[in-house]
């Protein structure tokens, strides 16, 4: 889907350094218009840093040492802070995991949404409020007139996340970065928010870079998936392809280690031994080699490039043809 069109967003060779270690290392991907790309990985894999870099929000300790972030040809990474302020909200927006931590507790949600609109549009307060009201309706908040005048503490977590989505989308950005937007919510509310996001993509054509560690959420919302491990993309593929034919040992083991709702459990879950290496432990080779049952000397010495598997499915592994063994062992 959308494979032939020019991509809306291109991240090219993004490399971010913290204290001498490349915590994001040569990350490249593209996102088409109206597409949802999931960035999946565990804590420390660099998925959040990648997304912050897209908005120029890297923490002070982190430094981008290479790479471009092209939004329809304009390099966001090369922008000054002043230019970024113009782009944020209008071209690219972000929502975070904990909505109550992102909202101002002392301001009504109506004025927070309205001020996001006025950041980019010279309109009166009344008009901005009217737009805020429309937006509340669009994100499915009942009784919008009343809610506009409430403070964040008067709303539940799910409602606050809807407010965050309203703020992020009111200026019609082309790309929405969603950093674990449903992780802090109950599953019932998560289902509502995921449905809302799918509906917004369908109606507005906004592309979403969806950051998560939850394979279930990926299966629900993503068109394409990039699996990250220790700062690099391990595998990138259309969503059905990835789940049906994982071509990287990390993906295969990750999928096998997730307990399933639809399968009567066996005695033991498949596990990945050890834990994610710290940045100072990254070696020269494949960063998954220390935990990989297929690893050979070559893996420890030489970093594998992303090999094309056809249909946009690429995997960074020297032993792609043996990955199916892992799946069979786990089954």
């Amino acid at each position: 889907m959308g494979e032939e069109t020019t991509p809306l967003l291109t991240v090219d060779n993004l490399t971010i350094e913290i204290a001498g270690a490349n915590v994001v290392d040569g990350v490249s991907f593209t996102v088409a218009r109206g597409e949802v790309l999931a960035l999946v990985g565990e804590s420390g894999c660099g998925k959040s840093l990648t997304s912050y870099a897209m908005l120029g929000l890297l923490p002070p300790a982190a430094r981008r040492i290479a790479g471009r972030i092209l939004l329809e040809g304009t390099d966001l990474a090369a922008m000054s802070e002043r230019q970024l302020r113009k782009a944020r909200g209008k071209d690219i927006s972000i929502i975070f995991q904990e909505p109550s931590a992102s909202l101002d507790p002392l301001t009504t949600v109506g004025s927070q949404i309205a001020s996001a609109f006025r950041q980019h549009h010279a309109v009166s307060g009344t008009e901005a409020f009217a737009r805020a009201r429309d937006m509340l309706v669009a994100v499915g908040i009942p009784d919008a007139d009343h809610r506009l005048h409430q403070y964040p503490f008067e709303l539940s977590g799910g409602m606050c996340q809807r407010i965050m989505i309203a703020i992020a989308l009111i200026c019609g950005p082309r790309v929405l970065v969603a950093d674990e937007p449903t992780t802090a919510l109950d599953v019932t509310i998560q289902a509502q928010i995921l449905d809302l996001m799918k509906q917004l993509v369908a109606t507005s054509g906004t592309s979403i870079v969806f950051i998560t560690h939850d394979m279930g959420v990926v299966a629900d919302i993503a068109d394409h998936v990039a699996v990250m491990y220790a700062g690099r993309i391990a595998e990138i593929a259309p969503v059905r392809d990835l789940f049906a034919r994982p071509a990287h040992p990390y993906t295969a083991l990750l999928l096998a280690s997730v307990p399933r709702l639809d399968i009567t459990p066996k005695a033991n879950l498949a596990t990945i031994e050890g834990s994610v290496p710290f940045p100072n432990e990254f070696g020269y080779g494949c960063r998954f080699a220390s935990r990989c049952p297929l690893a050979t000397d070559r893996c420890r010495a030489e970093q594998p490039p992303l090999f094309e598997q056809g249909g946009g499915h690429r995997s960074a592994c020297w032993h792609i043809n043996r990955v199916h063994e892992l799946k069979e062992n786990a089954a």
């Binding site: 565990e42 804590s43 539940s156 977590g157 799910g158 409602m159 109950d186 599953v187 019932t188 509310i189 998560q190 289902a191 509502q192 995921l194 449905d195 560690h213 939850d214 394979m215 279930g216 959420v217 990926v218 299966a219 629900d220 969503v239 059905r240 789940f243 083991l253 990750l254 999928l255 280690s257 997730v258 307990p259 399933r260 709702l261 639809d262 009567t264 459990p265 005695a267 033991n268 879950l269 498949a270 596990t271 990945i272 031994e273 834990s275 994610v276």
Partner: protein, 329 residues
């Protein structure tokens, strides 16, 4: 039902919190976090307690381990009544029940070495000292898949999964009959979760400990538990054996919880979309300070009728052994 092998017997436990009167003298609300529940846990059994945040599952687990006195009801651990016990008696009872929390980083004192953290309960109880203490700490570390060298490290030198192993070792140090696990894997990375779940299962096989496993993740629950208890606004709405429950959840709330879990399978996940729409719950959990009349779930229930707003359904047994509190299921 009071067979001798019950490690835990809860009878009619309620936990109410009296709110303070409002600023302008409005009447005080009573938050009814737990509202009359009964539960037995057998020796070696794992019971899962599931529900949304605010349903009272954490209040109930705190009550079971004696961190929160119940307003009414009885909690028996083996032969001993927890409610009303004080001083030494309470201390002795507490030895039989331990707790594992969600975030291991918050459960360990950052200035305690791992060995000292695990040794502390043994020293407090005067169970072991000197060489025997070292020996026991070493055994516990090995039991949870760590090495004795870890005893000399601080929590920050370990990964999240290793820290949770330490917390588990400490919980098992006193050989409790029951461990209450409050979301023990939700803060862990996906690839580490499976290790910890396997460890909990293996330890249960070895020691015969029982678990009360509090979780919102039904896939994890299916993997680990023998029985499922679904809680909604302070009451149990469905209790069933694992296979019965997952084959055929009956309470509309249980069905909605199941439908809401995104499955790690794009085909299944997208095929059930049409089906799932029916069960996506509109709205959110009402406040426990203002619980709806009749069946507390009627405000969100797709099956609700008049009787649901008037009469609260009791848990009644169904043909396959499940207990369900619903007029229409």
């Amino acid at each position: 039902m009071s067979a001798p092998e019950n490690v835990l017997e809860i009878r009619n436990v309620a936990v109410h919190f009296q709110g303070r009167a409002g600023l302008f003298g409005r009447s005080a609300h009573t938050v009814k976090a737990v509202n009359g529940v009964d539960l037995d846990i057998l020796k070696g059994e794992t019971v899962a307690l599931v529900g949304e945040s605010g349903c009272g599952k954490s209040t109930l687990s705190n009550t079971i381990v004696g961190l929160q006195p119940p307003t009414t009801g009885s909690i028996r651990l083996g032969e001993d009544e927890v409610v009303g016990a004080t001083g030494r008696a309470l201390n002795d009872i507490r030895r039989k029940v331990q707790m594992i929390f969600q975030d291991p980083a918050l459960s360990l004192d950052p200035r305690f070495k791992i060995g000292a953290a695990i040794a502390e309960p043994l020293q407090v109880r005067g169970i072991a000292r000197g060489k025997a203490l070292k020996q026991r700490v070493s055994e516990l570390l090995v039991q949870v898949g760590l090495r004795y060298e870890h005893a000399d490290r601080y929590p920050h030198q370990l990964s999240g999964g290793q820290r949770q192993r330490v917390v588990i070792a400490r919980a098992l140090a006193l050989e409790p009959a029951l461990v209450v696990c409050d979301e023990p894997v939700s803060a862990l990375d996906v690839s580490v979760r499976a290790q910890i779940l396997n460890l909990l299962v293996a330890l249960q096989k070895r020691t015969g400990v029982s678990y009360l496993f509090v979780s919102h993740d039904l896939a994890v629950v299916r993997h680990i538990c023998d029985r499922v208890v679904v809680m909604y606004l302070g009451r149990f709405v469905e209790i069933a054996d694992r296979d019965t429950f997952f084959a055929n959840p009956k309470h509309p709330y249980a069905k909605a919880l199941m439908a809401a879990v995104p499955e790690a399978d794009p085909e299944r996940q997208r095929n059930k979309e049409g089906n799932k729409e029916r069960y996506i719950l509109s709205g959110e959990l009402p406040s426990p300070s203002n619980i709806p009349s009749g069946c507390a779930f009627h405000t969100r229930c797709p099956l609700a009728t008049d009787i649901c707003t008037r009469d609260r359904p009791e848990l009644t047994p169904r043909a396959d052994g499940a207990l369900v509190a619903c007029h229409h299921a």
